[in-house]
Amino acid sequence: MDISSGAAVRSHCVGTTAVVYASDYLNKLTGEKIERECRRQLDSGCRALVIDFADTQLVNSIGISILLGIIDIAEKNGAQVVFSDVNNQTIELFDMLGLTRHVALAKDEREALSHLSGFDSTPTLH
């Protein structure tokens, strides 16, 4: 496992949706980097967030608590949040801590963007 929490968070915009990529270990530091990037994207006018976990192999409870904070921030800004490409073990953790009740999950980034483009429809849950 190649884990580095020092690198900047990758992100890009698709229309008014920001896609933010989580790193391989989601902990306090990397979680705060994601939060910061999400805040920046929302301040820049994005109306939806996709957080992609394709690279994420391990998460800890502090990282999860920060994700909840991001969901709160998005709610306050009237933005939707979708988590994409989350592995089964991580979904299990999200489920244990009730995160999946507050966020939509998508198979991958494309499905997440497609879901958001449909907007008011019910999210696909995995």
Partner: protein, 759 residues
């Protein structure tokens, strides 16, 4: 002058330990030795000792160093003892010791210091070059001895070192236990005579004794303070005390554990006297000090009849020789301790003790000198004594005053001390791990800092999630700066408002008086009220308001004209809290801001220790990793390799890894660990993997709560609680989770069964 720190010299002469075993007073030893130098000729050094801080071995080590150095300085050490009952007998004993040690030095025969010799023996042993003046001295002594003028005799004896011819060398006299000299009978105030004789002798000298008494005596003797130096001798620092415990335990051949050694240092507050006495008692009783129970059993034995008991009993007897008065004093003292009253009326004590005003003055003076109480004339505070003193008072009160059964008193003393031990250590660990705000604010001295360090809202918006490099680059380009005041007096809020003790610790709430621009005027005077608010999450608006009100109340009650409130929360403050505090004009920061500030002003901060090592046998792997720096991943990756050997499925491996990560985070976040290490043991069995994660320090409050299950219905609420999920996750991910009983810190054992993961 660092010569005394080296080990170049021969063995002990008067010292009871070798130079190598004398730990914790290196700087003080150098300082006392320096007093003997030519540059300090004619100057006295008053060694002002905190009670039980230990001074005798320091002086004996100084003696040995100077003896073995063989320079023109002739060391003389004299300790007043309780065996001497009059000033005259003490002075005669001094004369005898002086001549004996002088001749031992001149003949370079250390053994002479310990021989039983009469004055005539000493004359016969005198080297030819000294014979004439020593013979004259002894003849003169014979005349003065029978002159019936006690004062003249005392002065003659004390003045003997002045008779040493200059060509021979310079006597350097060290007097130990000056407080005992003051208590001698015989119409001569020996303590004051000592200062008068040596203060005018033209010789360098050291006078060591209890700090509250020595200064009084120097004033009474009308000493010329321009010719006196002062050295304050307080308890050992934590690090020095640990070294002392290690050395004494080895010397006394007492087996100890790390946990027990730490407890001794804390229980005895770094007192060399108490620590040494305690370890001596362990040797005498052939007791190993491994667990807290070992330590506290011996402690209670000591309180009831050991060295500790005799020490305090002797001091009480000295204070009130009559038994009935002594019992009454024990009652009054203990009841004052329990009441917690800091300003008890001395008059009420006099009535309860049925003493005359003069008798009471003497009692109060002795108690004050030994720092059992703080006495300022009309009022007395008995709450300030050391913990061993209070424990001694309590057991004696119950035994001698209440006549309770001894077995009950012993049992209660033991259970109480056992219950107290983890709290004692917890306070210590918290102190180690946390920033002492007093140290930080004391360093304020007109430095210019980015204002954003005092405004969490702005800091969070700009720098949350930023790397250190990004943060420091950003701070470097901040335009808005704040000039700190120069702080001139910093103390705990508790000194102003003791009720705050219920909501915060001493070092976490500070009142600091200072001046802006270091300009000492009313207009520039400002008082900072600083508090660290405990919270694992951002501090919310309600809590922030409560703290602001607390500090504002202090400012109003004490009439602070201009004040600045600054609140610090580990994880910062919610948006609403930041806004509310900003509207009050208060500052707020999180831990990261505080750490940057500390780095910028050069204040002291707790710094973690990092060490790694590992070992193990065929079925067991042990690794130790330093806390922090994502080191939990090292443990997670290690367990992954081990779990694969047992053919755990990937999902189960991920669960084990996550549980270990959470256990490591718990250990790092909550333990206040003194060594900042996580000890991990992985034991492979045929059908299971057993992982034990241990750390030293404080036991988290949720340990042993029995909160073992997390149901899905709880999750929604839990999700909004944000933190404190670690243990719940661990219990869900692993098959068995159990906290093992350890004296110090926590040890979490987690088991994952192979059959569960393959099913």
């Amino acid at each position: 002058m660092n010569g005394s720190s080296s080990s170049e010299n021969s063995g002990p002469v008067l010292g009871r330990v070798t130079r190598q075993d004398f730990v914790g007073r290196v700087a003080e030893l150098d300082r006392v030795v320096a007093q003997a130098s030519e540059a300090k000729k004619g100057r006295g050094l008053l060694l002002l000792m905190e009670p039980s801080a230990g001074v005798s071995e320091l002086l004996r080590q100084t003696y040995d160093y100077l003896f073995n150095k063989r320079s023109e300085v002739i060391p003389i050490y004299f300790a007043f003892t309780r065996n001497e009952t009059t000033a005259v007998s003490a002075a005669i004993e001094f004369l005898n010791s002086f001549l004996q040690q002088y001749i031992a030095f001149r003949r370079n025969e250390p053994a002479l210091c310990h021989a039983a010799l009469t004055l005539q023996d000493l004359v016969e042993l005198a080297p030819p070059a000294d014979l004439e003046w020593i013979e004259q001295l002894v003849q003169l002594y014979g005349r003065v001895r029978f002159s019936n003028d006690n004062k003249e005799l005392v002065r003659f004896c004390l003045g003997a070192p002045q008779r040493v011819p200059n060509r021979v060398g310079r006597p350097f006299v060290m007097l130990d236990g000056a407080q005992l000299a003051a208590d001698l009978n015989g119409g001569v105030m020996l303590g004051i005579e000592l200062l008068r004789v040596f203060g005018r002798s033209g010789l360098s000298f050291v006078l060591a004794g209890l700090r509250r008494q020595i200064l009084d005596a120097a004033h009474t003797a009308e000493c010329n303070f321009e010719l006196l130096d002062l050295l304050r001798l307080e308890q050992l620092t934590s690090e020095e005390a640990h070294r002392l415990v290690d050395h004494v335990a080895v010397r006394q051949q007492v087996a100890t554990s790390r946990e027990a050694r730490d407890l001794l240092v804390e229980e005895f507050a770094g007192s060399p006297f108490f620590i040494s006495s305690f370890l001596q008692a362990a040797r005498e009783k052939n007791i190993a000090l491994i667990s807290y129970l070992d330590c506290q059993r011996l402690y209670v034995d000591e309180l009831l009849g050991g060295h500790l008991h005799h020490h305090f009993e002797e001091l009480l007897e000295e204070t009130t020789p009559q038994l009935d008065k002594r019992l009454a004093l024990i009652r009054v003292l203990w009841e004052a301790v329990v009441s917690g009253e800091k300003c008890a009326s001395v008059d009420s004590w006099r009535r309860r003790l049925q003493l005359s005003a003069n008798e009471l003055d003497e009692v109060m003076h002795t108690l004050h000198i030994h720092e059992f109480v703080n006495w300022n004339g009309p009022t007395v505070d008995a709450t300030t004594g050391s913990q061993p003193w209070k424990d001694f008072l309590k057991v004696n009160y119950r035994l001698a005053v209440l006549n309770e059964p001894r077995a009950l008193v012993v049992a209660d003393a033991l259970t109480d001390s056992l219950k107290r031990a983890p709290h004692t250590m917890a306070r210590h660990y918290k102190r180690l791990a946390q920033v002492d705000l007093r140290d930080v604010v004391t360093k304020f001295d007109c430095q210019q800092l980015p204002r954003v360090l005092f405004d969490y809202g702005s800091f969070s918006a700009k720098y949350k999630g930023a790397s250190d490099a990004e943060l420091f680059a950003g701070l470097g380009s901040e335009a808005e700066m704040l000039k700190l005041p120069q702080m001139v007096h910093v103390t705990s809020c508790l000194a102003f408002k003791s009720e705050l003790r219920q909501v915060c610790e001493e070092h976490k709430c500070v009142v600091a008086h200072g001046f802006e621009d270091a300009t000492y005027s009313d207009a520039n005077e400002v008082i900072w009220l600083v508090a660290e608010v405990e919270s694992k999450l951002e501090v919310d608006a309600d809590v922030a308001e409560v703290w602001y009100d607390r500090l504002e109340t202090v400012a109003q009650v004490f009439g602070f004209r201009r004040y600045q409130v600054w609140l610090i929360g580990n994880e910062g403050f919610s948006e609403a809290a930041s806004t509310a505090l900003s509207e009050h004009g208060a500052f707020c920061s999180n831990r990261r801001q505080l750490e940057v500030l500390i780095a910028q002003i050069g204040a002291v901060s707790a710094s973690p220790v990092s060490t790694t090592h590992g070992t193990g046998d065929a079925d067991e792997f042990l690794i130790v990793v330093p806390m922090g720096e994502d080191n939990e991943l090292i443990a997670a990756n290690t367990v992954e390799q081990i779990a694969r050997r047992l053919t755990f499925q990937p999902a189960a491996i991920n669960q084990i890894k996550t549980a270990i990560v959470e256990a490591c985070i718990n250990a790092s976040e909550h333990s206040y660990s003194p060594d900042r290490k996580i000890y991990q043991r992985f034991r492979v069995e045929s059908d299971r993997l057993v992982v034990t994660i241990s750390s030293r320090g404080v036991v988290p409050t949720n340990v042993g709560s029995g909160n073992t299950n997390v149901t899905k219905t709880e999750n929604d609420d839990a999700a909004r609680q944000r933190r404190g999920w670690g243990l719940k996750l661990i219990r869900t991910l692993m098959d068995e989770v159990e906290f093992e009983k350890v004296d110090d810190g926590t040890s979490l054992r987690m088991t994952k069964y192979l059959r569960n993961s393959t099913g």
